[in-house]
């Protein structure tokens, strides 16, 4: 337990580095583009536009306020998929630093997740706009927004820690994860309503943490959702399990990382 606390204290001691890594990521990502940081908001909007053209005929009837449904799904999923796919290579791509200077290594996947949090916050702006424009009323549960953000961030950090460590030993992780992520996306009610899932596959839905996260997220924004507290509890369990698993896996392999980079 003492060593766990030591590691966390080390990360806190390097909080200025964490800050700089996050701001660097935000500054550099869109630096060469004309529209720059606006892309954080434009990207989900355009994706929503395309997907709603493709799918609205199919799902519009059964889904109230389909544009908001779609955009909220895209934004929350992007937060997770972006942070984890970037984090997969976060240790490998910083190997020149990790091999030469002592840094608490977990700071790299952590910084990736934190910059995804910033992007997520900015992409909330077009989402709230769309909800307003399409005539939806903001839900009375807006106070759940920071809660769901924290839950998904924790979940993503656990996955990020696990994958970034695994990639050091097996590069294939990068490519396997890409495929898994695609399967995961299609298994999640992002652009289709959960009502179209046949009964015998409902158990898949109930094992999917993003079912809970998405429902709470939509409930916090505009949708009337039942049994929110139960879903919150499930969500919390998934988040804690992910962080615990990621952290233990990272700790168990931490000293070996530098030999394999």
């Amino acid at each position: 337990m003492g060593r766990q606390a030591g590691e966390i204290a080390e990360i806190l001691r390097y909080k200025e580095l964490l800050r700089n890594l996050v701001t660097r990521d935000i500054k550099v990502r869109y630096k060469r583009s004309v529209l720059g940081f606006l892309w954080v908001m434009l990207n989900p909007l355009l994706m929503m536009l395309v997907m709603s053209m493709v799918f609205s005929g199919l799902f519009k009837v059964s889904t109230p306020n389909y544009t908001s449904y779609l955009l909220s799904g895209i934004i929350l999923w992007n937060f997770f998929s972006q942070s984890t796919t970037t984090a997969v290579v976060s240790l490998v791509s910083n190997s020149s630093l990790i091999k030469k200077i002592y840094i608490p290594t977990a700071i790299f996947p952590l910084s990736v997740v934190l910059s995804a949090v910033v992007n997520f916050l900015f992409s909330l702006v077009p989402l709230l706009l769309i909800i307003y424009v399409t005539g939806g009323a903001l839900s009375g549960r807006v106070y759940l927004l920071p809660v769901i953000l924290l839950l998904v961030a924790l979940f993503s950090f656990g996955v990020a820690l696990m994958l970034s460590t695994l990639t050091v030993f097996f590069h294939d992780t990068i490519y396997i994860y890409e495929v898994l992520l695609m399967v995961w996306m299609y298994a999640t009610p992002i652009f289709y309503p959960e009502s179209i899932i046949p009964g015998k596959f409902l158990f898949v839905l109930h094992l999917n943490p993003f079912y809970y996260y998405l429902t709470i997220f939509r409930g916090a924004l505009y949708l009337d959702v039942s049994a929110v507290s139960v879903k919150l509890l499930y969500g919390l369990c998934f988040s804690l399990a992910s962080v615990a698993a990621g952290w233990l896996f990272y700790r168990a392999n931490k000293d070996k990382i530098v030999y394999h980079l």
Binding site: Y14, E16, R19, R32, L97, K100, I101, Y102, F170, I176
Partner: protein, 246 residues
């Protein structure tokens, strides 16, 4: 002048060199299915190495390529946890290894100062306090708000040296870098090293330039195959090393 800054006791570092190392998950699974044991060879980069560096010493490390010098520096910097033995280090360390490892070409010089200094563990307040000194020493004032990708390699090296030394560490690790920059800047670097020596900063220097070791160090360690062969006054250590090479 005699408090111990670095104390290595019987430090060993083992690299596992797998024969037919599985590089991918697929190969790993295939090897597992075939029931192949992972044959590995142990390679000891450091073997029962003991050394003591005291405060204010300029400590030179010499030896042929592959003798374990860089591994020793990594163990001292805390990058590697030794397989055996113990490594005790007092105070802050700034490594000056491969200048610019922590730079981002898209960021400006000023932003890179903040990034790089925080890699060395400094807080925001500390960096703010040292910022002007870093800029002044690097002589890059007109370029400091331009992106680093527009710098020449000499300019990047100057910025790196300025940051690592302005950080004012207790222990400065220098791995073969003093050949960077033009003559004038090399002189400035040497002057700054003199200043560090006078101030009592401990310095570790790895170099193949034996004249430099003889010049600036007051203690030297000769390593071969991961072992400490001889430690003491630079003159005799270098002499023994040269005799073993020829």
């Amino acid at each position: 002048m005699d408090s111990v800054m670095i104390e290595a006791t019987d430090v060993s570092v083992r690299y596992r060199l797998l024969k037919e190392k599985p590089r991918t998950l697929q190969e790993y699974l295939i090897q597992r299915l075939k029931g192949k044991r992972h044959d590995h060879e142990d390679f000891w980069a450091l073997r029962d190495l003991s050394m003591t560096v005291r405060k204010g010493e300029t400590f030179g490390i010499i030896g042929r390529n592959g003798a374990g010098k860089s591994t020793l520096l990594k163990a001292i910097a805390g990058v590697l946890r030794p397989t055996g033995g113990s490594m005790r280090v007092e105070g802050t360390i700034a490594p000056l290894i491969e200048l610019g490892a922590g730079f981002d070409p898209e960021l400006t010089g000023a932003e890179n100062i903040y990034l790089n200094a925080s890699i060395l563990g400094l807080s925001r307040g500390q960096i703010k306090g040292k910022f002007q000194g870093i800029v002044d020493f690097s002589e890059l004032r007109e370029f400091i708000y331009s992106p680093l990708k527009s710098y020449s390699s000499g300019m990047v090296a100057r910025l790196g040296f300025s940051i690592a030394t302005e950080v004012d560490p207790d222990i400065l690790i220098i791995d073969e870098i003093l050949s960077v920059g033009d003559k004038q800047f090399v002189r400035k670097c040497n002057e700054r090293m003199d200043l560090f020596r006078k101030k009592g900063t401990t310095m570790l220097l790895v170099s193949h330039n034996l004249d430099e070791i003889a010049d600036v160090c007051n203690k030297a360690l000769w390593m071969d195959h991961g072992k400490a062969m001889m430690c003491g006054e630079p003159g005799p250590v270098i002499e023994r090393y040269l005799r073993s090479v020829s």
